[in-house]
Each structure stands twice: as C-alpha cells, then as structure tokens.
Subunit: 697 residues, 2 copies
C-alpha cells in the first residue's frame, strides 16, 4: 500500500482549526465533506472548546479524539501549526495536510518552521502534504478535504483522471474546467510548499492507484529530478498516460551560464526533454491538457500509430482537419483500392480519398455514415478514424440510429479509436463516451487531442531509462583551464582531436607547423580569453613557416592588447582542416536533472532558430542517432540537395563518448562545449573545446 | 445600397421547388422562415400545381406570383434550374440563390450550365448566389433562407458578427458553434460555386452593413485577388476586424515551379501575406476565429497596444498567462512605482509586479479585486487588463458586488479592454459581456484571443495599399534565356551587378579576367542548365590567366558531359567577391494576387526553416525594410554578436527596384530569383540571377 493511500482513503478525518462558520477556511472542509456524504468519521478540533461544530462533536486537541485518526487537516494560524503537527505525530495520525500558510514561501523563519514540522512528521512516520496546501479530493467517497471555494459552485464527480499540482489555485482551475465539461476525477491533490510530498510522488501514487487511468499534473519547479523521472516512467510502465504542464519558462541564469550549451538549455528545454524521455506529454494550456486526457480516458487506449482516416460531410472541414493533422505529425494514408471500391459501392457519387468527403448523398443512404466508417476501418491500418458529422447530435431523435450503429462499430473494432466531431447535446455525448467514443465540437481541437494521444504512444515506445548507477569514473578529471587541456581530456575519452601543439615561442610554433604539415591554424591559448575569435585570436590557413612565425607574434600582440591581464599559455598550432559540416556537441549539467547532452548544427541554425536537441546522458548509439535526427538541420548530414553523405557514425560515436564522459564525471562538470565539432565524409574532429568544472568544494 | 442588400432584406421570398414535406430540401427554408417569424411575403413555387404548401398559397411558376419578388430560392432538380433562373430574371427578381447542385463542381456540362445561368442573371441585373449554395441568414428578421439541417437543432440569434464562407457546411459548423456559445450573428452567407457572388464581395457588403461590426470569413480558393484585397481594405477602413480562414494548404504545383521563389511561395504564404497586408487576421481553427471575434464584438474595440496587465489570484495561472502572452508577442510592462505603491496600500502583503499575484488576501479586502484592477489601469499604459478570478462566477450571489464594480470600472475606462478569466454561469457572463467585458474559461485561450485582437490593430496601422494602376513599363522585357541576359535586365533597372563578361573562348576569358582583375569566378552559361553548381559549372577564386584558361576548358567539358544537348552560350567571367552576407531576393507571380516579392537570408535558413517573407509589389523603402525585418535571420545584417553592420540601405534599394521592375512587367514575368544577392558593409551585388518569362500568348 502506497503511503499516500491514507490521505485519500481515511477512515477518519480530523480538522484541526475547524470553524463553526461553514464559510471560513476552517469551516469549509467539514461542510464539503458533510454535504458530499463522506462516510468516515469527522472530528472537528478547536482549542476554544466548543462542544459541537457543524453538528459534529468537537475536541480541544487531536489527542482528545477517542478513535484513531488516519488523516488530519491543520487549518490553524501559523503560530499554532507546529504544536498541531506535533499533536498529530503523537496521536499516530498517518497523513497530515497543512493548509496554514506563512512558511518557506514568506520568510526564512517560515522556512525554519517548515523544516521543523517536516522533521516531526518524518520522525513519526507520518506523511505531510503542504504546508500552504489547498487540499485534496477523492470524489468517489465524498472526501473533499479542501478549503477551495471552487466547491461552492461545483462538485467534481468520480472518474479516472488523477490530477496533481503544486499550486492549489491552478489545480482548482483544472478540475473546475474538467467538471464543467463532464470529466470525472479519481484523485485531486495540491502539494503546496512540498515540504514532504511532492508532485512526483503523487504521480508515483497515481501510477499505482487502480482508480486512475490517466494522470494530469502541473509543476512550477522540481527539486528531485530523479524522483520525477522514476514516477513518470512508472506511470508509463503502468500504461497510464501522463499529460503534464510546466509553468514558468524561467530563463533566469541562462544568460550568465558558463557554457554556450548552458545558455541554450535554459530551463524549459531540459524539462521538455525529461518529460519526453519518460513518456510524458507536455501540454501548454489547461484546455489542451484536458482535451488529451479526455481522449485517453474515453477511448481507454492510445492510438497504435499516427495514421488517421477522416470521413466528412463537408469537404472544407475535412481539408481543415487534414491540414491540422499534417502540421501535427499525423498522416493520412491513401485508401487501398479495395477500400476505395467498397466506398464506391456505398456512395457511387463520392470520390474515394482520405479525407473522404461523403457529400450530402450520405444522408440519403440508410446507415451511410456507419457503413462508410466501417469500410474505412476494415480496409486500413489507421489507428484513428474521425467522422465529422456537422450538427446531427443536436437532433438526438434523428441521430439515434447512427449513434447506435457507431457504438456497435466501435465495439467491433476495439483496437481502433473512433472520434466524432459534431455539435451535440450532452446526453448524446455521454452515451457515445460510455461506448468509448470521444466527441469534440471543434475539428481542430479533436485533431490536436488525438495527435497528443498518438505522441504519448510514440514516447512510450522509446523511453529513456537511465542506468540506476551512473558508470563511476576511475579518477576525477584533471584541472582544465584552456582549450588545449580540454582537448586532452576529450582525447583521453576517445573523442577525435587533431594533432596539435601548444607552443610558447615562434620557433616552437614553426617546428609544430612542420610536424603537423602546412597549412595550419594558430590560436591563442589563455584561461582568461574564452572568446578567442572576438579578439582576433585565431589565424587560419597559414601557408608556411614564415607566415606562422609572424602569426605567433601577431596573436601574442593581439592578446596583450585586448586583455593585458590575461595569462597566456601559448599558441596552439594545428593542421588546417577544410570541408566538412560544423556541428556543436555540448554538455549542460542541469541542477535538477543532471548532465544533458546537446547537439546542433553550427551557425545561424543554432543561434537564430534554436535548432538544437537535448538528451539525458549516457547515450546509446541509437539514442544518439535519434538526438541528431531531432535537429532539423541534420538533414544537411544526409545528402541534402545533392550534397555528400557525412560520417554520421563518427558523430554518433563522439556523442556517446562525450555523454559517457559526462555521466562518469557528473558531479565535477559544469558543462562542455565542443564547437565546432566538424563532421567530414570520413571521420569527424573536435576543432575547439571548452570544459567548465564545478568549483571544488 | 449594396446590391447584396436584397438577399438579406427581401420584402418577399419565393421558394422555387418548395416542398410540402418540411423535412425535404425544398421544404426546410419555408419551414424555418415560418417558425422564425419572417415578416415578409413567402411564395412557395412548385410545378406540380399544389394549391398550398405549408399553409402558404403555392404557385406553378415564379411568373404567376402576383406581387414583386425580391429574393428567390431555386431548389429544383438540376434539369429545371436554368428555366427557374430564366423565370426569375423575367419576373424581375433582384436576388436569386441557387441551392441546386450538379454544376461546375461535377462536370464540364455542369460548368457550361453554370455559365449560362450566370449570363442570364447578369443580363437581367439580377444577383446570383450559388449554385450549390447552402443558403443565407439574417437572424434579426427571421430570414433563414437555407436548407441547412443545423437549424433543426439550433437557432442563431441576432448579433453583430457577419459570417461569409464558400462552403455551406463549414459555415454551418461556424455559426453552430457561435450560437452554442451565445454569440449573435448579423448575417450568414455561403457562396457555394461563386458563379457571381464570391466571399470577397460578401466581405465588401459586410464592411458597409451597419448591423455588422466584426467579419468572419472562410475561403478555399480565390479567383479575384484584387477584389479580395479591396474588400479587406474596405473593412479595415470601416474599422471592422476581419478574421479569416484559408482552408487547404495546397502545395500542388509548388514543386514544379519555374523559380525557387515560386516553390517557396507555395499557395499558403501568399494568402498569409495578402491577408496581413490588407489588415485581416488569419485564424487556423473555427474556435480561434470565434474567440477573436468574441473579444472584438464584446469589447467593441481593438487594444490600442500590445501591452497587457495581469491581476491573478493564482501565481501559477498568472505565470502561465504571462508565458502564453510573451510567446504571442504581447508584452507585460513592469509597474510604475506609483502603481506599485497604490497596490501596496491596498494589499500590503502582495508583491507589486506584472503579473500581479493578489494572493488569497484579496478576498479579505472589500472590493479588493476591483480596487487592484483600477490601480493597475490608472497607472499603466496597458491597453488590456486581464483578471484571473478562478471560479467566482459559479457563485453569482457572492460575485454580484465585484461584478457590478467591474462593470463600473469598465465604464470609467472606455479606452481599455478588461478581460476576465474564470469559471462562471451563463447569466454572469451575459451581464459582463453587455458591459463590454469578455469572459473566458481557459486562461490560454483568453490570451490568444487578445493577442489576435492586438495583431488586428497592428495590421490596421500598416495597411499595404497597392497603386490603383501599376506603373506601366515603357516597353516589354527583352527575351531572357540565361544568367547573363537576366543580369542585363536587372542592371538596366538599377540593381547592382558586377562587371562581367560572357566569353566564347579561353582567350576571350583571359582578356576578361585581366579586365575585371584577378581573382575571378568563371561560370558556364546555358539556357538549358538551370542548376550550374550541381554539374560543377562554377569555378571560384581563379588566381591567374593560366588557371582561367584551364577553367574555361574544364567548364565546357563538364557542361558537355553533363548535358550533351545543352546549348552553351559561353563562360561568364566575373570578379571574385569575398565577404558579405548572402541573401535571396525573388519575385513570384501569383496567378491570383499578382507579383509578390520574396526576401530571405541565404542557405539553410531559407531551405530548412522557410525563414522568408513576402510582400506585394511595388514596395516603398519603408515596406521593403519591414519585409527584411520580418525575416528572423535578418538580425545577421545588423551587428549580430559583434559582427559588422551590413549595408541595409543598398539592400532596401535593390528590393524596391526589383519590385518596381516586377510591377511594371507583371503580365510578362513568371518569376525572378536573385540568389545570392550579396550585401556587404558597403554596397550590395547580384551575383546570380534567373528571370523566367511567361510564354508569349
């Protein structure tokens, strides 16, 4: 039994700080649970010693309650909160919710108080939700253990969507909207300050909860990345879709990041990556989250592929849906000839195609719509079939026959999704939904929701499970203060670098030039000059010894002029590599989710279009390849417009090696930039590198 | 009086092909108008000679009707349609709708029949909607002149949104959805095959119609681009927002386009451009179209700027809205100190900011929400103020005071938009809407709709009015069969090209090389080789006479090997230009909208990210600059990451000259590609050009 179970299935609930005024914060939970018929024991607690509160015997302290208390709500002023939690611990309460505010969200004293109540709870083996929490619901048993005024206007009904949010108000908005559109909820919980229970753990609980089949969640921040990953993967493994919102695209700190990779990562791209790797779909509005959840709970499955068939009574709407679908990555396969013939037999005047415009003729053919849908489904591999039926659902009597036939069709094809788009009455929708058929008003929203469900399915098939234990490094990284040292580290890890020499005199440079072969490149090397090109610190295509000696002098002079205080380690002499595609390989150590690999193709695509992709490390070759292919510009690697095929295998190998290096040294690394990493038609080379280590602790 | 007026305000309506069965196509219009209390005369016409149809005296022919007929509906089988139209013309009917199908949409005979009925109508000065039309509505007078079964389930109410669509079914979907959400409609019309009246003319009519304040439209194709432009501009000048959908992103033919520009233009980008230039906002779903129209009709104005203020009782929802807003180009200016102080005075514990999280404290302060909104509005320049009020609208009695105060606040600030986001009952919404305050459930949809309205305002301030008469060319373009001739045409138009020589022998090439100065570029010139680089037909950076002579031979050999049949005009010798940014300037002659200019920055940005922008020609320098700035990669021109400032003035001048050339020769040109057009820190040059002329007629 999961330890959060006690919150949702208590045999008894104590409300500490209960109020006789059913409108006050301490009065509402009691009122809601009484009104909604919660069958467990309800124990109002109030220090003022009233005998009865809202018809229930009241107690001065939770310790005075005669029976056991499974779930206690603390709704007292902040000054009394610690004592209340202590009393709960002493009483042996299993689960305590702290509604009281004034903790870590307000001041350092509040944070200290929060740590104290957390310690009390942990020591007693008591789980704690909050503080600063709005409450939780289990509508199936009338447990409305919340002070949200949302319940003044609506009553969530039982269903199979579980909802976990940090913000209570955000949660209220979501379950309010869900309730108004008729969606039922298994559990609702707001975690508030997350002193103990966080959204990740709620997802883990919902993944195990039999009443929940789809999980919706919203987070503002995450403190334990590993737990969130594990919870999302657990939900995926349980076959429960997770639709999650991440609120706040905070880019604070991105500008000041130590590496270019770090600044590209920001906050948002990393969350996107982790969600996708763990099979969760990110939604960008509450409505979108609910639309996708609606398709999942109604159809009780995810589409097995991204192929769709569309039957429509309106050519225009069919084309609109096809446009929307194509933009979202769904495909409309052409009809097989046998299907086309079957359709011609049913509607001789309509042209068989996908989308299939039945024309108005369909209304003249008995069971026209369902016969057509049946023919489309029988003959195709499409996992999802849409029917646009205009406004027939507004005339339930006229629609009754079609409705029954559609429900029967759905039963015949339990492996397919059938989705209707039409204007209709609530009763019509309920019957169709009960048969497993989602109904939408807006064609575009229907397509978007199915695209979301199809993406959930695709994500589930390519989960990224990190090794439980990252492969340990045999020894820590050496200090890395310049390009030369960074390349040495990379070379040791098997990442190809060119033969290069760090030279401290013009004569040494010339010797190096002769060793590696002209033409060469010369670059200033200094731990204090991160952006060499901006000070003219790189000279390309040096043809001979004379030019190289001159270049050495020029570089030293430029460095001294641009940064008089800079320590100069010397001049790096390397062969001049021509041709190939410039790419970027990076590592960003995310404080929450750990090291992430970045890949992009050089220049404007990265800078202007943020055409980069991230993946958690370490990478398998397969996942490295998928990382490369997520980048739009990666088409340039594969014979774009008659161009050559570049050595993708060498690139993938380098990505795997960099990611393994990052995994092995996760605790030491701030980030890595390999920019450019040049991929040629044979082989690939790191031409410049920056490794940033964490300050030693 | 606009000639479409007669369709919507007829004193009498004849239904030719009227049926005694109120469920049949010929029976429904009569039934709907009777049920909805249309006050004009209704004349059923049926050749079968029934005396009475649905309680109205029936006639054998429209010619037998005693009184005048303003509006006639033709709902007879296709065989009788021509005679019916002819009778209408003879009767002096002002406006005829043809519901009958089987015309241009089915066969060439149908197309011929369509031309005949159109000619009959035109000769008689009778306007014709259809054929294959679904009907039109004027809900204010109960004119439901349609056979749409949508009216079985709902009755559109009068309001001020005008809706014009080609597809009747698409129109039914849109007004059905509008009606279900309580939006009123001034006029609805479906134009069907558009033999006479098209959507553009309907927009023109609605722009003049006093009952209409916002126009929604959907088109699948447009045959008269000039008329559509004129209609959209007329609506913009009348201060009526137009929200328009273009259905079908058909890219057919794009692959086979004569120019690169043509293939980038496709169909969709040109529509996007024309809509924006004429002040219309393109929507991509019916719901989005209605959301924007809802804000416009309710607020009765467009936001004067893109600045928004957000007041929220939930930090999370506030951040979500701020995220959404920023992505859509809205801005959240920080609060002026005076406003911050005013807010601190009202809610001491809340931190003044935008978005402003009132915290739960606001509920404890009398009139808290409205006082806060008032302070925000008084102290800021934001045209739009959002308030997220959770679910208060579900408790109308508790909300009544705030509701009144908000209505009063809105009256005090008639120049601002106030938009509420909350769950609420329909009655609450109606009262707020009547006071000019739109209400949304979903925070994201509220922000999107306001962003749409703000964009409409921005578009209106930069309308692109083409000259009534394009500047005529003094003489037609000469034949242009290769790069050399194309550059000559461009040079004559004042577009900078390098000094270049077309050489027919190695000796001539060497002389040319000495003339223009080494290093040089040599390129094969042939009308039959469009993609020179793909056959190795360009040799760069030729250092001296010997190398140039060899290059000449190599080029001729490569061309002969790759395309033995190709006519070879010679080898072009030009100075080798180094440095500068490669851009693309193009002209695409759109069959509907005429010549369009294209701009992009070379290479992957254009190919992979379609980072290009279009504008109708001719261009003013201001509009050319705006065209450049619409391209994301154009930041590279303006000192990107410490790089140089390129000569944007030279680029703008070239765009204007190319666009003037295209305007002057609109009838002759298929397209122009100037690729690359290299922009340097001083000056800019066309390095390669292709001009494609229309086949002479």
């Amino acid at each position: 039994m999961h330890s959060l179970h006690a919150f949702f299935f208590p045999r008894s609930v104590a409300i500490i700080g209960a109020s006789t005024d059913p409108e006050r914060i301490g009065g509402r939970p009691l009122r809601f649970m009484v009104e909604c018929g919660f069958a467990g024991a309800l124990y109002p607690v109030n220090v003022n010693g009233v005998a009865e509160i809202q018809g229930h015997t009241a107690y001065r302290s939770v310790l005075e309650i005669p029976g056991e208390v499974d779930h206690a709500i603390v709704a007292v002023p902040v000054a009394g909160a610690e004592q209340a939690v202590r009393d709960c611990a002493q009483k042996g309460v299993k689960a305590v919710q702290v509604f009281t505010a004034g903790f870590a969200e307000t001041s350092s004293e509040g944070a200290a108080l929060q740590r104290r109540i957390t310690d009390i709870a942990r020591a007693a083996g008591m789980r704690l939700v909050g503080p600063n929490a709005l409450g939780l619901l289990n509508p199936g048993i009338g447990l409305f253990a919340t002070f949200s005024t949302a319940l003044n206007g609506l009553r969530p009904r039982a269903g199979s969507i579980g909802l976990a949010t940090q913000s209570g108000a955000f949660g209220s908005a979501a379950y309010g909207m869900a309730t108004l559109r008729g969606l039922g909820l298994s559990r609702v919980i707001a975690t508030g300050n997350e002193a103990d229970v966080d959204v990740a753990e709620c997802i883990e609980y919902l993944a195990q909860d039999d009443d929940t089949s789809v999980i919706c969640a919203a987070i503002e921040s995450c403190r334990d990345g590993a737990r969130l990953r594990a919870a999302l993967l657990q939900a995926a493994d349980a076959g429960k879709p997770v639709v999650i919102m991440k609120i706040g695209h905070t880019e604070i700190g991105a500008a000041a990041a130590a590496t270019h990779t770090g600044s590209l990562a920001g906050n948002d791209a990393v969350y996107d990556t982790v969600f996708a790797e763990c099979g969760a779909l990110r939604a960008h509005s509450i409505e979108e989250m609910l639309d996708i959840a609606y398709v999942c709970v109604t159809a009780k499955q995810l589409p097995a592929n991204a192929e769709i068939g569309i039957v429509t009574g309106s050519g225009g709407v069919g084309i609109l849906m096809a446009d929307n679908a194509t933009e979202l990555g769904l495909t409309l396969p052409p009809l097989p000839e046998a299907t086309a013939q079957a359709l011609r037999d049913i509607l001789p005047f309509a042209v068989p195609a996908n989308p299939y415009d039945t024309t108005a003729q369909v209304t003249a053919v008995p069971d026209g719509v369902t016969r057509v849908m049946s023919a489309m489904a029988a003959g195709s591999s499409c996992a999802t079939h849409f029917a646009y039926l205009a406004h027939v659902g507004l005339s339930p009597a006229r629609f009754a026959g079609t409705e029954r036939a559609l429900c029967a069709l759905r039963a015949q094809h339990p492996d397919r999704l059938f989705v209707l788009v039409m204007l209709s009455e609530a009763g019509v929708n309920s019957r169709l939904e009960a048969a497993g058929i989602p109904v939408f008003q807006d064609p575009t929203r229907a397509v978007r929701a199915v695209a979301g469900a199809a993406r959930l399915r695709a994500l589930r098939e390519q989960l990224h499970r990190l090794p439980a234990q990252l492969p340990p490094a045999s020894e820590p990284l050496p200090p890395v203060s310049n390009e030369s040292e960074a390349k040495a580290v990379l070379a040791t890890a098997g990442i190809p670098v060119l033969p290069e020499h760090l030279c401290s005199s013009a004569a040494a440079a010339v010797r190096a030039g002769e060793l590696v072969g002209f033409p060469v490149v010369a670059k200033i090397v200094s731990p204090d000059i991160a952006h060499k090109t901006e000070i003219g610190g790189v000279i390309l295509d040096i043809a001979d010894a004379g030019a190289l000696a001159a270049a050495f002098a020029t570089l030293i002079a430029r460095a001294s002029a641009a940064a008089p205080q800079a320590r100069i380690d010397g001049v790096l002499v390397a062969p001049m590599l021509k041709g190939g595609l410039e790419t970027i390989i990076g590592i960003h150590s995310d404080p929450v989710f750990g090291p992430m690999a970045l890949f992009g193709l050089g220049g404007t695509a990265v800078e202007l279009f943020k055409d980069v992709a991230f993946a958690s490390v370490p990478l398998t070759p397969e996942r490295a390849r998928s990382l490369v292919h997520q980048v739009r510009a990666s088409r340039l690697l594969r014979g774009w417009r008659g161009g050559p095929m570049y050595d993708e295998a060498a690139l993938v190998d380098a990505l795997c090696r960099v990611s393994a290096l990052a995994a092995a040294h996760a605790g030491e690394l701030e980030g890595i930039d390999i920019n450019p990493f040049v991929v040629r038609t044979q082989g690939a080379y790191c031409l410049d590198a920056l490794i940033s280590l964490r300050p030693a602790r």
